[in-house]
Amino acid sequence: MSDVTATRHPGLNLNHTDRETHDRAESVMFGFWVFMMSDLVLFAVLFATYAAQSVHGIAGGPAPAEIFELKSTLWQTLVLLTSSFTMGLAALALKYRDDRRRLVLWLLVTAALGGTFLYLEGADWLRMARDHGAVPQVSGFLSIFYALTGTHFLHVSAAMVWIGVMLVQIGRFGLKPEVKLRVMRLAILWHLLDVVWIGIFTFVFLFGVVQ
């Protein structure tokens, strides 16, 4: 095959560390990226709706600045960013080491951080609902707020299920090419969910609080 340093698909490439899997990676990984791009468009449309409804859709209900609490948002952000980093470490363990223990360990850390994020976000929602009566049925703004953050929440939850399935498959099948490629796709999903979250904490929470 051609130059081993050339990339075949976006994201981490296996290159020379596992030529066999690398040779099979191109269309699967590309396909997953295409899927993710479609998913990003879905988020984009939600963001666009949020931009309008968070300004026009308050309808006498609570405004963003009244219900957001940046401390919680900051914690959620830090936890999720760290999980993106640990997912990166998992991917490197996959690429460079043939011991599964390290990979499993980093996946478990990532899952724990992901779980913490979900817990913090859920608690934050509950707080808003309890202290401000801020439930989605109150206003257009709250509807899209929960839809946007909720869609992200569902994505993270799905990725957690995926981590679980991968842990089982690593135990059962070892690091065969299919399993490796699945972990690599999982990592891409995880990083992109981080990208979406950057949009959420900036354009939803920070923008909401400054105004």
């Binding site: 990339t7 976006p10 990226w33 984009a44 931009a51 026009h56 990083h191």
Partner: protein, 108 residues
């Protein structure tokens, strides 16, 4: 450490680890800056919003570069086309929607 890894792989690992570390530190720093900006109210509203938007874009770029390995020079052409086209469509959809809905609202 596992045995039998050639030196060059170790180097590769170190380089990639460094890339992830840079990405991690950058995103923490940019996040910190954004939250600090809001907490301290150091700038006027307008400037704050602009700077926040800028920080988010830089941070997204950092994620793409250091965690997702998107490199404008080294990437395959198909891949770049895909990502740039997505960016274009997202820009059109978000920009168009905001333009239209705010204009309609202003005229109501």
């Amino acid at each position: 450490m596992t045995k039998g890894i050639p030196v060059s792989e170790d180097e590769g690992l170190r380089a990639e680890l460094r890339s992830y570390a840079i990405g991690g530190i950058l995103s923490l720093a940019l996040t910190g800056a954004a939250f600090w900006l809001v907490a301290s109210r150091a700038l006027s509203l307008r400037t704050t919003l602009l700077v926040l938007g800028g920080l988010a874009i830089v941070q997204i770029a950092a994620q793409l570069r250091f965690f997702l390995h998107i490199d404008l020079r080294k990437s395959h052409r198909d891949d770049l086309q895909l990502i740039l086209f997505t960016a274009l469509i997202i820009g059109l959809m978000i920009g168009g929607t905001i333009w239209i809905l705010f204009n309609q609202h202003a005229r109501m």
